[in-house]
């Protein structure tokens, strides 16, 4: 094998199985999902990332989330009662999708997952150029100095896992579990008027217009890639309504 001279490689072998759905350039894909969104992360309440700030108290913000589709479709494929979730952990990002879905629904959910959560992870791209110490020469290829660009893979999209997803929403809180991998349970935070939870509108991290802020009782997850074990951290709960026409959803990604 040729010695690697200088390159590679970031992220993800992410594969968009969008083909199956009969799209042509003239027929934009039509989809819409509405339902209940639940999320928790490793930040302290209320998660500075939700406000466009850096995570706190850690330098990272690992998260798990689920979109519970109460009504929705991808083209002619119905998605009612399915859950489209994921985990963004220290090693990478895994899509955690509802195991009850049939094959066409799985393809549809994977597409939507990429459109919503996976946009940033979606295609493999090269690690940024890092200059070496040689004097540049405008007619000569540059000296590239990054070992990662040369030989390492970085943060990855880890693929999809189909799991039995339990997402329960009550008047006092929520619970999300991904099979035997784990999940979280969180209680809503009450404000000055104790009959109402604290809500945030228009925050940055998720395409959910109004979220109820909550605090986790536990946030515990483990698979062969990622392990999380926290408690007393931030959580969000809210209703979503996202479609191919709702471009506001596009920049969304799990908070970093």
């Amino acid at each position: 094998m040729t010695r690697v001279v200088s390159y590679l490689m970031l992220s993800v072998w992410c594969l968009l199985p969008g083909a199956a759905l009969g799209q042509t350039p003239d027929q934009p894909r039509r989809w819409r999902i509405k339902g209940q969104f639940s999320e928790a992360c490793t930040c302290n309440v209320p998660c500075a990332c939700n406000f466009g700030e850096r995570p706190s108290p850690y330098e990272y913000c690992h998260a798990m989330w689920s979109y519970w589709v109460l009504d929705g479709n991808w083209g002619s494929i119905g998605l009612k009662d399915l859950r489209i979730g994921g985990i963004d952990g220290p090693v990478g990002v895994t899509g955690l999708l509802d195991a009850r879905a049939a094959a066409p629904q799985r393809a549809a959910m994977e597409n939507i997952w990429h459109l919503l959560s996976g946009r940033l992870f979606c295609l493999m791209r090269l690690w940024p150029f890092k200059a070496g110490a040689d004097e540049p020469n405008p007619v000569r290829p540059p000296r590239q100095n990054s070992i990662i660009r040369t030989r390492y893979a970085d943060r990855q999209f880890l693929g999809f896992d189909y799991v039995a997803t339990e997402q329960v929403i009550s008047e006092t809180g929520m619970r999300l579990h991904f099979g035997d991998k784990g999940g979280f349970e969180a209680n809503y935070l009450r404000g000055r008027d104790p009959s109402k939870p604290i809500t945030v509108t228009n925050h940055i991290s998720w395409p959910v217009p109004v979220t109820i802020k909550a605090k986790t009782v536990y946030l515990k997850y483990g698979d062969k890639h990622n392990q999380l074990d926290y408690q007393g951290t931030n959580a969000n709960q809210g209703e979503f309504d996202i479609s191919d026409k709702d471009q506001g959803a596009l920049p969304m990604a799990p908070p970093k």
Binding site: M9, V12, L15, F129, P136, N137
Partner: protein, 282 residues
């Protein structure tokens, strides 16, 4: 309508070949990450053959796979071939999703990278600008993905000795990455490039401060024993050498060498090169 078009119009439960392609491409990535490069090479050949045997019209699986396999071929040093694969991915995305799709921006970024690595800067720059325009439109003006294009533009301008033009791109990239949670490693890259720029302009003190910031960021992000840290040490050592601080240069080269030997191997070409540099200072 061609038969192929009809097939693609059917939902995924039919074409087993589709999942086979995706699985094969995914396997290439898995093997590569496990360090099984020869196995990855074999599986990549299978995947490329599968892609080559496909007929029009293009589809998203093919578009994505050409890009993924292109990065693999790129890593093997076959830049021309990688460029052709990225071009096929680009053409497929253009045909499938139009000129504003963010996935196209990623492919353009990769294709531009091929041009940069082969010294064809004039070909690279417009591709970066196209990628930037797509991302600005899709992701807004402050998304971290913009920073990687800014960094690339700054890098290209340095290579062309357009130092004054390069400076604002690199500063923007460093600032945005530093302000973006989870982008610490990228911030180190932009800081490194900024340091290099200042070094080339003779601002050695600024360069030293920036190299040290980049180094500290990498040590924090990757840990102290990572080869990426070694390459930053090599840059810092080169700066000391340029400043005429021979002893500091030697000491820093030695630190880098220890790290390279430990994290890569004593026979690694980078180790050999570093020993040669050390030898020149004696």
């Amino acid at each position: 309508m061609r038969i192929a078009s009809l097939l693609f119009a059917l939902p995924v439960w039919l074409p087993a070949a589709e999942s086979s392609l995706l699985e094969t491409v995914r396997k290439v990535g898995d093997l590569y990450r496990q360090g099984k490069h020869e196995d990855a090479d074999k599986v990549a050949s299978e995947a490329i053959a599968m892609l080559e045997s496909r007929r029009d019209p293009p589809d998203f699986d093919g578009a994505s796979s050409w890009n993924s396999l292109g990065t693999f071929v790129y890593a093997q040093g076959d830049l021309n071939r990688a460029g052709r694969m990225f071009a096929r991915s680009r053409n497929a995305y253009l045909s499938l999703a139009g000129p504003s799709d963010p996935r196209l921006a990623t492919v353009l970024y990769n294709l531009a990278g091929v041009h940069v690595e082969t010294g064809h800067y004039f070909e690279a720059e417009p591709l970066y600008h196209d990628a930037l325009a797509i991302r600005e439109k899709a992701l807004g003006p402050a998304h971290p993905l913009l920073a990687e294009v800014w960094n690339a533009l700054g890098f290209v301008m340095i290579q062309q000795k357009r130092y004054k033009e390069a400076l604002p791109w690199l500063e923007k990239a460093a600032n945005l990455w530093e302000a973006s949670a989870g982008s610490a490693a990228f911030a180190a890259v932009a800081l490194n490039n900024l340091a290099f720029l200042h070094r080339l302009e003779g601002s050695f003190d600024k360069a030293e401060a920036l190299y040290n910031r980049a180094l500290a960021t990498e040590e924090k992000h990757f840990g102290q024993e990572h080869p990426e840290v070694a390459t930053s040490l090599l840059n810092l050592a080169a700066l000391y050498r340029a400043k005429g601080q021979g002893e500091k240069a030697k000491e820093t080269y030695r630190r880098a060498l220890v790290l390279i030997e430990k994290t890569l191997s004593p026979q690694d070409p980078l180790a050999v090169e570093t020993r040669a540099l050390l030898g020149q200072l004696k």
